[in-house]
């Protein structure tokens, strides 16, 4: 008999709508699970039990009154603490916002609520989404549910860990260079970065404006598709959100992959990769071929320049986006006699090491005399990287790659040299630079029992194909059903 917290999102919502279970029961089960595993996992920075139970009661009342509670009917979810939730502390994993309570919801928060979801808490992340392991959070440590000595991935580590540990049916994360896909891969769950502009960024604390996207994490592809349907679509509060209509992503999952042309970019199978990751991904590719897909080798020649391109553009935008944290209207203020001293002391005390490093790098890249050589150059190389994908997508409908060169590494292992940490993003980063949709899903486990992630990359606004590939693979395999023994 499946415990309530182990139900998929779809199944849980179905039972609530059919009154086989109540939202309050679901939420209580989630809160119990949270209480039980949080000491080992540390996924949440804030648990909103009172508000969640209140919301659950309201949903149950509406159902009793015959109203339609929405497609996410009464199901508990967590939200990465970089996404604003009205009346609930939102920290971005940073001391500088440790006590910040927004009066407004992000658009995605409001849409989840409107779809009937119940928010049970805010999830830990690397500070201002800068990191690949969640070790840069200033407010807590999150551990991988599969092995407590290892990282959950980042920056949406809390989101990945919470879903993997059964603390909520689904979660929202954000992905700027891989921050939804990497935790999904390290934690053995499904994570999607939608096409840039598919989901509103309003109320999402900005790291890199031209790269950030909100993405769902869940236990299987169908749940992920359901989440995307709830949050995607035009938003008059976000000028970069696309006006394209939102299709039914769930419906797209039905079709298999027979005849689908899949590309395997050779630059994504590099020396230095963990051998089990490579063999796991190649096995998944063979499975897709067995299901009828046509796989062919392709090339994305500018891949080797992606890390530098990303880190120049993202840090430049971030250095500007983080200028508003000055201790005047909100956030940490260190009192000082002069204005200048107040700025400098507050920001020095409020920002962690990695954030400072990226602000410095970004400021430098934009500064007089260096703009052309760094920022402008990076934007030009970005165009070359996009063109690589455009070329390849003329022949293929999707690409298949690993998510990361390794499985989850140990806490503290990569913290010493920033560049080593940056290299974790090598397979995910180009997808953000080109604004494409990318799905991560489990495709195996290594000898240590750690999940291996498979990435499917699609054409702009073609989440349907990407989800379809994932769903077909899932139907033929059992990886997504494995749970950590926590």
């Amino acid at each position: 008999m499946t415990s309530l917290h182990e139900l998929s999102l779809r199944e849980a919502a179905r039972r609530v709508r059919r009154r086989e279970t109540s939202s309050v029961e679901l939420v209580r089960a989630a809160l119990d699970r949270i209480a039980a595993v949080e000491p080992a996992v540390g996924a949440f920075l804030t648990v909103t039990d009172a508000e969640a139970l209140g919301a659950a009661e309201a949903i149950d009342r509406r159902i009793a009154a015959g109203e339609d509670p929405g497609p996410l009917a009464g199901v508990p979810m967590g939200i990465k603490d970089i996404i604003c939730t009205a009346g609930v502390r939102t920290t971005a994993g940073s001391r500088i916002l440790e006590r910040f309570v927004p009066a407004y919801d992000a658009t995605v928060t409001a849409r989840l609520k409107r779809a009937g979801a119940v928010i049970v808490g805010k999830l830990n992340c690397d500070e201002f989404a800068m990191g690949s392991s969640t070790e840069n959070s200033a407010l807590g440590t999150t551990r991988n549910p599969w092995d407590g000595n290892r990282v959950p991935g980042g920056s949406s580590g809390g989101s990945g860990a919470a879903v993997a540990a059964g603390e909520c049916q689904a979660a929202l994360g954000t992905d700027t260079g891989g921050s939804v896909r990497l935790p999904a891969a390290f934690c053995g769950v499904v994570g999607l970065k939608p096409t840039y502009g598919r989901v509103s960024r309003y109320g999402v604390i900005a790291y890199a404006s031209s790269l950030d996207q909100v993405g769902p994490l869940a236990r299987d592809v169908a749940d992920t598709a359901l989440m995307l349907e709830a949050i995607a679509g035009h938003d008059p509060a976000d000028s970069t959100a696309s006006p394209r209509p939102v299709p039914s992503y769930l419906a797209a999952l039905e079709h298999g992959v027979r005849g689908l042309r899949l590309g395997l970019p050779r630059e994504y199978f590099v020396e230095g990769m963990q051998p089990e990751v490579e063999s796991g991904v190649r096995a998944a590719v063979r499975e897709l071929e067995r299901l009828g897909a046509i796989v062919e080798p392709v090339s994305l020649p500018h891949t080797e320049y992606a890390i530098a391109t990303y880190y120049l553009i993202a840090t430049a935008e971030a250095s500007s986006n983080l200028a508003r944290y000055d201790g005047i209207r909100y956030g940490l203020r260190v009192p000082a006699d002069s204005l200048g001293a107040m700025y400098e002391a507050s920001r020095a005390a409020g920002f962690g090491t990695e954030v400072k490093r990226r602000i410095m790098l970004g400021t430098y890249a934009l500064s007089a005399g260096y703009y052309d050589a760094y920022y402008l150059k990076a934007q030009q190389v970005r165009t070359l990287i996009r063109r690589d994908f455009e070329q390849v997508f003329q022949r293929c409908e999707a690409l298949v790659t690993p998510v990361a060169p390794t499985t989850a590494f140990r806490l503290g292992e990569k913290i010493a040299d920033p560049l080593t940490m940056y290299l974790s993003d090598i397979f995910t980063i180009s997808v953000n630079l080109a604004g494409l949709p990318g799905l991560a899903l489990p495709c195996g486990f290594d000898a240590s029992g750690l999940p291996i992630g498979l990435q499917v990359i699609g054409r702009p606004f073609d989440e349907e194909t990407v989800l379809r590939v994932g769903a077909a693979y899932e139907r033929a395999t059992e990886w997504h059903r494995r749970r950590p023994s926590i």
Partner: protein, 481 residues
């Protein structure tokens, strides 16, 4: 000292008369208790995003068309990054490499001729909040009501060579923006701001001298005084071999001098880059044509028409067309039958005096004129016809104010018509001459000035109603002069 040439460029920031702010749905109206006219967007809260107000773009295009600019088909906002308490995001959304308008010009009347002054660019940006010093003096207080109000930045070419040219350019630009109804042109209240770039060079030198930026000039007079002072300062420096520092100086209205701003350790580097939260703005020819069709007759064209059709002098036409509401008022009066020269005179002397004294011109359009145009026209006609004299007419203005009363009807009702009856005035003249033999003798002796006194006496005796020209004529006759 050898001749020195002055080079002046002006940078204007105009607050736009849109209903809402440039990037959010807060009201753009002035006033209200501190921090009430704000929202997460214009407060720079975490996670907020800008959405561009269509009307701001429309106003920018209007301004560009009215100044003969090229309207860019595609333009991009950019971030100007710096730290200041009134700048909530730590950057201002402005435009840098790709402004919406470029390459315009203004033709202004100055020193009896026309001078063409080039306009480098016009772009859109957001205004900042306001800092004020607190009562105790150890802190500053910040109000963000003004944060996000839309501004047009209008930059001239460094084409001006005299303070008069600068003043004429500024007045013309302001008139244009007010005619277009995109800005109320109020320098004192800060909706029309001007910074000046001033340099000098030895006459004949092609290269520009070091340019100094002057800020904090809050009226037309201040602009003129500040530029004059700065030119003087730089000329003296030049002639004594002193180096002129490229810097920003503030106009001190009390001490009437410009002074250096506090020097910062590292100069501000604004690190401009294209605003990633806003997509490139594409303006198609169709929209530009639509907007062009709504442009009113502009000040220069209207001025020329006044000279041509109403026979006014260039100076008078210039004054009457500086504000559209004044020009409309004048033409309403002419339409009501007043001779143009008379109407012009009455508007420029009496009407505008009251309007300025009572600061009725602080608004874009004067809401309540001291007198209706038709009433002023009627007064002008009555004076021209000799029915009443000027003094009587002036005295009637406050009495007619706020009423819709026809001046002619009031004159008749109270018997205010001036006396032009020769015989009656001759009698009054005779009486006055008899009563003031000393002054009469002085006049006969050649002291012409004393006639004024005698005219005054006759006017008094007639209760102010005698026709002054006739009185003068008959007095001279009586005195044999």
């Amino acid at each position: 000292m050898s001749a020195v040439e002055t080079v002046i460029g002006l940078e204007v920031h105009a607050e736009l008369l849109t209903r809402s702010k440039i990037f959010c749905r807060c009201s753009a109206a002035f006033g209200g208790p501190a921090n009430t006219n704000v929202c997460p967007v214009c407060l720079g809260m975490p996670g907020v995003l800008p959405v561009l107000n269509r009307r701001v773009v429309e106003f920018a295009i209007r301004a560009g068309l009215a100044t003969d600019c090229t309207i860019a088909r595609s333009s991009r906002f950019a971030r100007k990054n710096y730290f200041y308490p009134d700048l909530p995001k730590g950057y201002q959304i402005s435009m840098y490499e790709t402004p919406i308008c470029t390459g315009g010009r203004l033709d202004v009347l100055v020193d009896g001729g026309t001078k063409r002054i080039g306009l480098t660019r016009i772009h859109m940006e957001e205004d900042t909040g306001k800092n004020i010093h607190d009562a105790h003096g150890d802190a500053s207080l910040v109000d963000f009501n003004r944060s996000g109000v839309p501004l047009l930045e209008i930059v001239s070419e460094p084409d001006m060579r005299t303070v008069a040219e600068a003043g004429a350019y500024l007045r013309m630009l302001r008139s244009i923006l007010m005619y277009l109804e995109i800005c109320d042109g109020n320098m004192e209240e800060g909706s029309f701001r001007c910074d000046a770039n001033v340099s000098v060079r030895p006459a004949g030198q092609a290269a520009f001298g070091t340019k100094v930026e002057i800020k904090n000039m809050n009226s037309f007079r201040a602009v003129e005084k500040a530029i004059t002072y700065e030119v003087q300062r730089q000329t003296e420096a030049l002639s004594s071999g002193e180096r002129i520092v490229q810097e920003t100086r503030l106009w001190d209205a009390e001490r009437e001098e410009t002074r250096s701003m506090r020097r910062k350790e590292y100069a501000d580097d604004y690190r401009y880059f294209p605003e990633p939260d806003l997509l490139p703005l594409v303006v198609d020819a169709g929209w530009v044509d639509e907007i062009r069709a709504t442009l009113p007759e502009l000040p220069a064209a209207r001025r020329d028409r006044f000279i041509r059709d109403h026979g006014l002098s260039p100076y008078d036409a210039d004054v009457l067309t500086q504000r559209k509401d004044v020009a409309d008022y004048f033409e309403a009066g002419v339409a009501a039958g007043a001779p143009p020269k008379e109407m012009a005179n009455w508007v420029m002397t009496e009407l505008l005096r009251i309007v300025r004294e009572e600061k009725l011109d602080r608004a874009l359009v004067v809401r309540d004129w001291p007198l209706m145009a038709t009433q002023l026209a009627r007064l002008a006609l009555l004076v021209q016809a000799g029915t009443i004299n000027r003094n009587t007419a002036k005295s009637l203005i406050p009495r007619l104010r706020g009423t819709g009363r026809d001046p002619e009807e009031l004159v008749t009702a109270e018997g205010l018509a001036q006396v032009s009856d020769r015989a009656a005035i001759e009698r009054a003249v005779a009486e006055v001459v008899a009563r003031h033999p000393a002054q009469a003798a002085e006049f006969r002796a050649g002291k012409d000035r004393v006639l004024g006194f005698l005219v005054g006496q006759v006017m008094k005796a007639s209760g102010g109603k005698a026709n002054p020209q006739l009185v003068q004529e008959l007095l001279r006759e009586a005195l044999g002069g």
